[in-house]
Amino acid sequence: MIFTSAASAPPPVIPNYGGPQGGAHGCIAQNGTFCWDWVKGHWGDILQPRLLEHLEMTAIAVGIGFAIAFLAALLAHRKHWFEGPFGAFSAFLYTIPSLALFQLLVPFTGLTMLTIEIGLVGYTLLILFRNILAGLHGVPEDVLEAARGMGLTRRQVLFRVELPLAFPAISAGVRIAVVTTISLATVAAYITPLGLGQPIFNGLQTDFTTEFVATGALAVALALAADTALVALQWAFTPWVRARRAT
């Protein structure tokens, strides 16, 4: 902002990042901290496509992770011996640094989306497994006894009683998994240029601050929006939690 005249302006730091046509101007040319012009100019060709990719990566990872964790939790709920090994396995996955994990997978699955998804799924397992299992374990014993005593089959107890009552804990797990996956998925661009991580890396490598500031803000906004949506969903599905207590 010190340089106000065009004559004394330095050459743009990143000429490529001028307007859509490549002509650098104003804030962009001077590499200001945040240039709204750039955001507007590149919403269509950079930000929006990356945002959608990011959303897709997250949805796939949490979806598959949920399916695996759900089945594992059901198994652990029935067969208690299974809880320890799967818990340890998912905790082990969780402790591996993400970059290292992606790098480890590359020799097997290449620089692909598959590599990324395997990694992301791995990180969701611990959170989802623990929360689903905690939800199932949290169903009061008297409720289960009444259900069995009335002649509900095991399957009916699971679907009509245990899972609905575990729903708040399960959805809390999904919220954490979604938010952490959105954050973690930015690292995926290290492997393959997908998702919001890609413009962030770009911005970091080229010292063009607007790009990573804008993309980072978008990632945060995505996480907040997803979390809010899940809270709304949980609210809609659990009217019994909101019911006013008897005085």
Binding site: P140, D142, A146, G149, L152, T153, W240, A243, R244, A246
Partner: protein, 335 residues
């Protein structure tokens, strides 16, 4: 399967325990030891005893929440072991101390649980729910859509009762159903259940550790002692009059004569004629009063006689000696 057909039997079933024993693996002592008793259809049988007496275990073997080790339990002559366990349980109402309502379901959905499992039509379920809410003293207009947590403990147990009765079971199992309630609510629900039972006449197995509740609720009482051994099985009056042994005598308490008096009302006994027809000398008492309360009134008033008022007029006198005489014969037999 066969859901509509099963509706026909709204009658109660006789329950027979035949040499029933429960042993848990790894424990040498039996939880229930060779228990035999016959509960006539439509009666309330209370299983009572100290903890470790196996009363809940005995009850849960009826709907096979606990499997029988030896012996058999017959429902109207049919072995519970021969029935498919899910089918069996849907024919038996089940009420537990902590109610166990489904917190995520409305009151109406809670009550409709078993009828839905049996495949009843929507309209039939709806009318049944309304009927049951009224029967247990809840509001059929405002309560069906509420959730269990919005109800008081007493109301929750009313819903628990309605839920257990929903599909008109022939037998009801009640495991300390009023145990978690405050004394006033408990008293009220006990009274209401007795009134309800007079109407519906189900066979009820009722578990409690409280001898007073057993005496109040039971047509018959089975007293179980440690090790699941049946100490005595009889009517409350017979047990109080003639405890089978020292254990039963101690369990029913030293005041068992007073408890016996509580079982009868002034209207149940023969009264003495009022001397000279002049009853103005005596304190009056309603005929619906229990003998025990009448005795308490005598002690309070410092009088040996009370004038019993029935339907607005004095029907006779009741005296301390009179009450003692009612207790006497059995007391003498015992000696």
């Amino acid at each position: 399967m066969g859901s509509e057909g099963h509706q026909a039997e709204s009658s109660a079933a006789e329950i027979v325990f035949r040499d029933v024993t429960k042993r848990y693996p790894g424990r040498s002592a039996a939880a229930v030891d060779n228990l035999s008793l016959r509960i006539p259809a439509g009666e309330i049988c209370v299983l009572v005893g100290p903890s470790g007496g196996g009363k809940t275990t005995a009850m849960k073997m009826v709907n096979r929440l606990i499997e029988i080790t030896e012996g058999d339990i017959l429902m109207d002559g049919q072995s519970v072991r021969s029935l498919e366990v899910i089918e069996l349980r849907r024919r038996i109402g089940y009420v537990i101390q902590h109610v166990g309502l489904f917190p995520h379901m409305s009151i109406a959905d809670n009550i409709a649980t078993v009828p839905r499992l049996l495949g009843w039509s929507k309209s039939r379920i709806k009318s049944r729910v309304g009927e049951l809410l009224e029967l247990v003293g809840l509001d059929p207009v405002h309560d069906p859509g509420r959730y269990p947590r919005q109800l008081s403990g007493g109301q929750q147990q009313r819903v628990g009762l309605a839920r257990a009765m929903a599909a008109d079971p022939a037998v009801m199992l009640m495991d300390e159903p009023f145990g978690a309630l405050d004394p006033i609510t408990r008293e009220r629900l006990q009274q209401e259940f007795l009134r309800l039972h007079a109407e519906i006449r189900k066979t009820v197995i009722f578990v409690t550790h409280d001898i007073d509740e057993a005496i109040k609720m039971g047509d018959r009482i089975a007293i179980l002692r440690e090790g699941g051994i049946l100490a005595q099985y009889d009517t409350p009056d017979a047990i109080l009059a003639n405890p089978a042994d020292e254990f039963v005598a101690r369990f029913v308490g030293a005041d068992r004569s007073l408890k016996r008096l509580a079982l009868r009302r002034l209207s149940d006994i023969e009264l003495l004629a009022v001397p000279n027809g002049d009853h103005s000398l005596y304190p009056t008492v309603a005929a619906s009063t229990t003998l025990r309360d009448a005795l308490a009134l005598m002690l309070e008033e410092g009088r040996r006689e009370l004038a019993v008022v029935d339907d607005g007029r004095v029907s006779g006198l009741c005296s301390v000696e009179h009450l003692a005489a009612l207790l006497a014969p059995e007391e003498q037999q015992e000696r």
